[in-house]
Symmetry: C2
Subunit: 473 residues, 2 copies
């Protein structure tokens, strides 16, 4: 049963996206311009994301902290590149009660300034290093065009801020955390991301370099979905973050930051959802199984309960939809909400000794004996779904990955079907800007694969980098 309120994604992708968000009750617009309310179904996904990522961070030795929301202007101004990069997006608090504040305070759009200010005060010796701090919080960026999860003036994220005694350690951390992000996207979100270094033009304001994690959406548009920055001593110099090194000399600390946001929920939708609504990979689904009784009978009710208990005992999150809605309505609701597996327990089916499993990803129905080992069968099915969802997304990504040897080839691809486009580049910003004239196509990241032609796709001169390009959200 197709949900009539969802536009087809092949007809109007943008409308389809917001339809899916609304139908699954993930978020809604509010009276606060550009800001969303994250509703229970959406927030439950974020909680699941947080719990898995936070556990991994802690395994790697990170600890959580909480720094102030407001940043005094003078602090921001200490790092020119940062303030220049963020200035147009900053929201400023200027009044308290009925008085003007002595100094404007920016609502944090990122927290490098306050972390560096903290480290400046607290770093002493190399013996204290590294400090591996992370914070889960809200940030605010005054975006002009907004869409739920994808780009919202306020969003939730984690921001890691670490200081190290050597450049080597800090660079290792920058890479390690990008590896964690890639693991999370691939293994948990079933999103086959790619990663690499950003070009100078696209890197984070003030960073030495930025590693990025890039996803390809169903429509061939790219999404930046996690970045890890190496700052070297740039910020430590601006904020005077020093420690005493092994030779008993003052040295500026080596600094990294890395972040991933509620935008991940947009990626899940645009990679996995379909015209029937949300599709959640089992490992990130807050509710993995919906058990639906059909027809009133004691046997139906008992079996539903037994299944639910058995699944819960085996760490599978299952619930029974006991509402007085019709079975058809319940099916559609579980579907629109992206619940990976639906188990239909019907009085008539039971006469034949069977129950029905329905996979959300393929919408396939499977009849199974009612005496099946419910936990082990469901566990296997959830794993299969997780794997299949990844494979399907990877197949699509590969199909939408192209190679361009010339500017004309690039134009043709972008006019026909956008995607990840591999093409060589001379390293010149002018050429990047010229590629941008093609539907706003930008460099996503520098690939470590060998050069393709050895000539820049744009100017034809000697190429320095094999770059992956694409249109971005």
């Amino acid at each position: 049963m197709k949900n009539e309120s969802i536009t087809s994604r092949d007809v109007d992708f943008a409308k389809w996206y917001t339809d899916v968000v609304r139908a699954a009750k993930l978020a809604d617009y509010t009276s606060v311009k550009g800001c969303i309310a994250i509703e229970p179904n959406g927030y439950a996904i974020w909680e699941k994301i947080q719990s898995i990522m936070d556990k991994k961070f802690k395994e790697l030795g990170h600890v959580n902290v909480q720094m102030p929301l407001l940043i005094p202007e003078h602090l921001f101004n200490q790092e020119k590149e940062l303030i220049e990069g963020f200035a147009p997006e900053l929201v400023w608090a200027t009044e308290a009660g009925d008085k003007k504040l002595e100094e404007r305070h920016a609502i944090r759009s990122t927290s490098e300034t306050v972390f560096c200010d903290y480290y400046k005060k607290h770093l002493t010796s190399y013996k204290d290093l590294p400090l591996l701090y992370n914070q889960w919080c809200n940030v605010f960026r005054y975006e002009k065009e907004t869409r739920p999860f994808l780009r919202s003036r306020e969003f939730l994220w984690q921001e890691g801020h670490t200081v190290h005694a050597t450049a080597e350690d800090a660079e290792a951390e920058t890479k390690r955390m990008m590896d964690v992000y890639m693991w999370f996207n691939n293994e948990i979100l079933a999103i086959p991301s790619i990663s690499g270094k950003k070009t100078e033009k696209e890197k984070f304001a003030g960073a030495e370099y930025t590693l990025t994690c890039e996803d390809l959406m169903y429509n061939g548009v790219c999404l930046q979905d996690g970045t890890s920055h190496y700052f070297g001593q740039k910020f430590s110099k601006a904020y005077d973050v020093k420690f005493t090194n092994k030779d008993n000399k003052d040295e500026y600390a080596y600094y990294t930051t890395w972040g991933k946001t509620t935008r991940m929920i947009a990626a899940i939708i645009m990679v996995h959802a379909d015209d029937y609504g949300l599709v959640l990979p089992p490992r990130i689904a807050p509710k993995q199984v919906c058990i639906i009784p059909i027809g009133k009978s004691e046997e139906v009710d008992n079996l539903c309960k037994i299944y639910q208990e058995e699944l819960s005992k085996n760490d599978i999150v299952a619930y029974i939809d006991n509402s007085d809605k019709s079975p058809g309505f319940k099916f559609a609701e579980a579907e629109v909400n992206g619940i990976p597996v639906r188990i239909e327990v019907g009085a008539r089916d039971l006469e034949k000794g069977v129950i029905t499993f329905a996979r959300r990803d393929t919408r396939e129905k499977i009849e199974v004996s009612k005496d099946v080992d419910i936990a082990s069968y469901t566990k296997d099915l959830l794993e299969t779904i997780q794997k299949d969802m990844y494979e399907k997304a990877k197949e699509r990504r590969d199909k939408l990955t192209f190679t361009a040897k010339t500017y004309e080839e690039m134009r043709d691809i972008l006019n026909t079907q956008p995607g990840f486009i591999h093409a060589d580049w001379c390293g010149d910003e002018e050429c990047e800007l010229k590629v941008k004239e093609l539907k706003g196509c930008k460099s996503r990241c520098i690939s470590e694969e060998p050069l393709i032609t050895g000539k820049c796709v744009c100017c034809g001169k000697e190429a320095k980098h094999h770059v992956i390009w694409g249109i971005q959200y």
Copy 2:
């Protein structure tokens, strides 16, 4: 070994408090006036608080959401009492990038306005009710005098916002959540709180009534530590929050909110800590046991590891302090950080076949056979400590609980030793204000116990309520 950096609490309580906060590395001041950085040790306590409270909320059917940080002025203005109550503390965002915002936006100091605005849009039928929403977030109040955790311009909290189809249901929720708070304080934080209704003067701006949870600090000063508000239909009328009731008629929804904050960490300190630093009740301690090896030997190292593994297997959070500091330094560090139990494993002790347990709360040392069933012994000891800490705090609270029959008696008590003061009251605000002239003493809550003299402690007229009074933070 007394930590020299901690002032005695009997000498200068205020200084002692900040000394404990700094020595245990819970939080520090920042360059942002009135705002603190919550450091790893402090944030770990908050995470533990969150995990236990959140689990309880969810067991009771609550779900988490996230509403916007910024509140447009017109929305705030819809509820006069709320804006009047909060106006002096509101911080206003007025600029974005280099432009003035069309409308001022307040940084949330509480979220009744945005929740009501959301409910207005989404409520339809009584069938959807109740909606039991909660959010964990930061709020901002422009306080003049601030102290870490106790009163900070920005703080973290949870705010529950629920809508119900009947007054009865909403009142039951108001009471239920105060019961949860009382359970949490008593059972988890080992704080013997009292609870009751606030007077009209002290209730939350715009509420029908407020239930409060009040703690007594070591120095006899009171701390409000959690409130639950019943709004009836007051806010729903101001924000037009309606639903269709069973008779198919429009009805304004019944609304409750309730909140508890990082101030709990201040309460833990001011109830339990001592001149040696922080003392954490075992149930809220992020790390419950510190194992300290003394002297280098294979047996010492092996035993430490075995103990740690055995404890972890039994859900006791234990760590080994393997740093190259001296044992004395390690003892002091575990002490200052409030770790409930320290296990000293010494080469010389092992020759005698014993290890030493040290309780943080009593600082008592207990020799135990090295072959003790480590998990069960430690578990029992942690439970004993939890219970003893509660009893000790309750004894002190009872000792500092007084009864005043006249204004003069009240003055004498407040001049000698403040605490919870029971006294009858006529219900007149004037008398409340006159009591306040005594060292700022305020009504904490209305007790349900019978009247004491039947006469108002202030004016001597007929009393309406048995009230508990005290000086507050």
